[in-house]
């Protein structure tokens, strides 16, 4: 199985995943240490076993979306942690939730579901905290093949993290301490006796689904389950039995004995990204992933998680280094395995952008109206780190062709995670010389191309409901008027405004929109630009002359590509790239009059 196979599965809509997967599961009970654990299994038991451990205040159903997606390729096992869901609670509760006892449970489940081979553990929140214990203690050695951790640090590592910052209180380290201290407010609350239980069994338990929908954008469905108040009340003992003891005396030998994949949601309101700063010291074989999402990623980003888990499991199953982790480019943690579509990818900024994403380990769809150069971009992308890349020939101004492309991409490669609407053409010459036909051509490609792209692929992203990002290549000409480029500037100004409006509209769905305004960049747009109002000879001369001027400026498209990746990572709204683009942007805001004076100058052509 290849990473592509897994990722392909991510093209499914969310309608399938309303817990049906778990209802189809084979259930069994595992008796251990005075409790009975409810264990569910999906998929072929002959396949590698993936064990999903849930967090607080959840039950195994939190994984239903992810489990369903993994079940095609793996033997997926879930269990309710003691005291949660349908598992029984220890008596008395106090002292019944120590990490040692949770490790006993884990080993009992592993022995039952995978007696012959090690399992791949995946933990979220407290499930991850527990799993860190599993993967760092001696008695589980050989039983764990890999560990994927999300939103749950090891308490021992956390203890060392705090100690280090207390003993060397530089301003930055104190800031980190206070920041995480503030995010951990709920941990102190949970240490008060009785009150949390009352709250969960009362109003909080009732309100919780609504809170999740509002704060975390968790889609409504089969989660949370009816056992929530009970789970949350029991789960408070996870904190009380472990947190203080471990943070005060963290183990000094908490080294992971299996490869670890760390998935960090960048918008997690409970855990700071800084917590994992020196994790390499504890987990020698570490792969980092970053996801622009909030805390409950198993609910909000099941496709991405399933793809990354599948990839990591497969890589560690064969004993071969993971394809995705071999990507060495910038932001590989963020774009590894994602699907990126770039229009105008046959040359210039589009091609450089496709290459930058390829280096970050993304799967690339290179779209251009020139088939040969699109194929070339795809071929070179594969050479530098893209697990897969395809060249597609489409004229972005052709609505029907774009519709076909969108349908084909969704069916064959999946829903696009990052869309870069970059294709564009140049047109220079005065307004009065520009014919209706010239206007139409420029607007068709530069504006309608972007509209088609945003409409078709943006819709797919929104329907999937798992976030994404759209990048539109505008231009510094979008806010810098000029008597030489009326049509081009108009089209680009429209793209800029379109991007800003769309950004507002899609913000609630976790889809970012960025407009890039490169400025004068050394690409071949100049030598293919039309110059209206002059003869063919003069047009050729001006094309050559402007190409030469742009060449002398020599700002490389690779730098624009870097800015595009950065804009996606930081979700920036408008990004002027070259110094002159930034200068013009500044002037357009603070001294538009001067900019208007510049607009009247004759360009040196």
């Amino acid at each position: 199985m290849t990473t592509g196979d897994i990722a392909k599965g991510t093209g499914r809509g969310t309608d399938k995943g309303t817990g049906k997967g778990l209802r189809d599961a084979r259930e069994r009970w595992v008796r251990t240490g005075g409790v009975e654990l409810c264990v569910a299994e999906l998929g072929d038991p002959e396949r590698p076993t993936v064990l999903l451990v849930h967090g607080y205040p959840d039950s195994k159903e939190v994984w239903s979306e992810v489990a369903e997606r993994l079940a095609d390729d793996f033997h997926v096992v879930l269990y309710d942690v003691r005291g949660h869901g349908r598992s029984t609670a220890p008596r008395p509760l106090r002292g019944g939730f120590t990490l040692e006892k949770l490790t006993d449970d884990f080993l009992a489940v592993v022995d039952a579901v995978s007696p012959d081979g090690p399992v791949h553990v995946v933990g979220h929140d407290w499930g991850s905290v527990q799993s860190w214990e599993f993967v760092t203690v001696k008695r589980t050695e050989g039983r764990i093949a890999s560990f994927t951790s999300m939103s749950g640090p090891s308490l021992d590592h956390f203890g060392h993290w705090i100690k280090k910052r207390m003993t060397r209180p530089t301003p930055r380290q104190v800031g980190q301490l206070l920041g995480q201290g503030a995010k951990s407010w709920y941990v102190y609350m949970l240490h008060t006796p009785v009150l949390p239980e009352l709250a969960w069994r009362g109003p909080l338990g009732k309100q919780w689904p609504k809170i999740l929908q509002r704060m975390e954008k968790v889609p409504a469905g089969d989660y949370p389950t009816a056992s929530l108040p009970q789970d949350a009340a029991h789960g408070a003992w996870l904190y009380r039995d472990n947190v203080r003891a471990r943070l005060r005396r963290p183990r000094a030998d908490a080294y992971a004995h299996a490869p670890v994949q760390l998935i960090t949601p960048s918008g997690d309101i409970f855990l700071s990204e800084r917590l994992y700063d020196e994790l390499e010291l504890w987990a020698p074989q570490l792969v980092r992933r970053t996801l622009p999402a909030k805390h409950w990623v198993p609910r909000t980003r099941p496709d991405r998680l399933a793809a990354w888990i599948g990839e990591f499991v497969t890589a560690n199953e064969d004993g071969l280094p993971s394809q995705a982790s071999s990507a060495t480019g910038k932001h590989a943690d963020r774009f590894g395995g994602q699907l990126v579509l770039v229009t105008g990818a046959g040359s210039g900024i589009g091609r450089a952008t496709a290459f930058a994403f390829a280096e970050a380990g993304a799967r690339v769809v290179a779209v251009d109206r020139d088939a040969e150069s699109a194929a070339r971009t795809a071929e070179m992308s594969r050479l530098i780190g893209a697990p897969d890349a395809w060249g597609e020939t489409v004229d972005v101004s052709d609505e029907q062709a774009m519709e076909k492309l969108a349908a084909r991409v969704a069916a064959e490669y999946g829903v696009v995670d990052v869309l870069v609407n970059n294709a564009g053409i140049g047109l220079a010459g005065s307004f009065l010389d520009t014919t209706g036909d010239d206007w139409k051509k420029v607007l068709d490609v530069n504006l309608w191309g972007v509209i088609h792209g945003c409409r078709l692929f943006g819709k797919q992203m929104a329907e999937r409901g798992q976030g994404g990002h759209i990048v539109n290549t505008a231009s510094a000409a979008a806010y810098q008027p000029s008597k030489a480029l009326p049509a081009y500037s108009t089209s680009k100004a429209a793209v800029l405004m379109l991007s800003e409006c769309l950004r507002a509209e899609l913000a609630d769905q976790g889809i970012g929109v960025s407009a890039i305004c490169p400025g004068i960049v050394n690409t071949n747009i100049t030598s293919t630009s039309r110059f209206v109002g002059v003869g063919a000879e003069e047009e050729k001369r001006r094309q050559k002359r402007s190409a030469r001027l742009y060449g002398l400026r020599n700002y490389p498209p690779e730098k624009v590509a870097d800015a595009i990746l950065h804009a996606v990572v930081k979700n920036q709204a408008v990004v002027p790239v070259t110094p002159e683009a930034r200068g013009a942007r500044f002037m357009s805001r603070f001294s538009p009059k001067a900019l208007r004076a510049i607009a009247r100058l004759e360009p040196p052509l």
């Binding site: 091609r351 070339r376 070179m380």
Partner: protein, 283 residues
């Protein structure tokens, strides 16, 4: 393609070919000895010593060696960055050896691209260089202005998805003239360049300036003339995201009316040409 010509090489051309062959033999010998951990300085010294042992006393320029992303001239700003550094070779790293020995009064200037182990990107670059060798020869035979040929090469590189790295060379040259060098007992060099050769280049530049041509083949106006008779060391250099590859060899330009004879590569039995032939045979 030029075997007909090769048969009847003049004594002078034979001298140039001999030193070019010697230089490529040196490159292959040194490349075979490169191991992980060897520095650029050591590789440059290996070339120097190998050629000295075989009678080379003077240089057009001293041997260079570039490893890793330095093969693509990443962040090269000033010419001093051309000189070998203490960068160490690692498995999978591309490297370029570039040397210009003078032997019995004849000069060669060669570039040899290699790779320590497997590197598919490097393989691709090397394979794509073939089109440039053909393009340059074709357009020189058509007697197109050097500046235009330069632009054609540049366009082909852009189409292939590469960055033009000879842009980083002094004056952005893709080629320069080479000539015979007087043999002297003392062979001082200046910034890595042999003074005798520099003298030759300077006098060419001086004469050329009067007649409207230049011994440097660049994207600038002074190269806006048809190919000038003589020997040109041509070095198209591709760069792609931290990997670079080039070849450098001598192109002979004559004033013959026969297009085949008007320009030809001095030698077709060179490592990169053999490699392309083998690849074609395997395919």
């Amino acid at each position: 393609m030029t075997s007909a010509v090769a048969g009847e090489l003049s004594a002078e051309l034979r001298g140039f070919r001999e030193v070019q062959t010697l230089a490529y033999a040196c490159a292959e010998a040194v490349a075979a000895q490169l191991r992980p951990g060897v520095t650029e300085r050591e590789a440059a010294r290996m070339q120097r010593e190998w050629l000295r042992e075989r009678g080379v006393r003077d240089w057009f320029h001293l041997p260079f060696a570039w490893f890793g992303d330095r093969t693509a001239f990443v962040n090269f700003r000033v010419p001093l960055q051309f000189f070998p550094t203490n960068r160490r070779l690692e498995p999978g790293m591309p490297f370029i050896l570039d040397m210009a020995p003078v032997y019995r009064g004849f000069t060669a200037d060669i570039g040899y691209s290699g790779c320590l182990g497997l590197n598919p990107v490097h393989d691709k670059l090397l394979a794509d260089l073939e089109a440039h060798r053909e393009l340059i020869l074709r357009e020189v035979r058509e007697r197109r202005p050097l500046r235009e040929i330069y632009e054609s090469v540049d366009r082909l590189m852009v189409r292939q998805g590469y960055a033009n790295r000879h842009r980083a060379y002094p004056f952005g040259v893709i080629a320069h003239k080479v000539d015979r060098v007087k043999e002297r007992r003392l062979t001082p060099h200046l910034f890595g360049f042999g003074t005798q050769s520099l003298k030759g280049l300077a006098s060419d530049a001086l004469h050329g300036h009067r007649d409207g041509w230049s011994p440097l083949w660049s994207p600038y106006k002074f190269s806006d003339h048809p190919p000038r008779k003589g020997l040109w060391a041509v070095e198209p250099h591709l760069g792609f995201r931290g990997t670079g590859a080039k070849f450098e060899e001598i192109l002979v330009v004559t004033d013959s009316k026969d297009p085949e004879q008007s320009a030809f590569w001095l030698d077709d039995d060179l490592p990169h040409v053999r490699r392309w032939a083998e690849e074609r045979a395997a395919a």
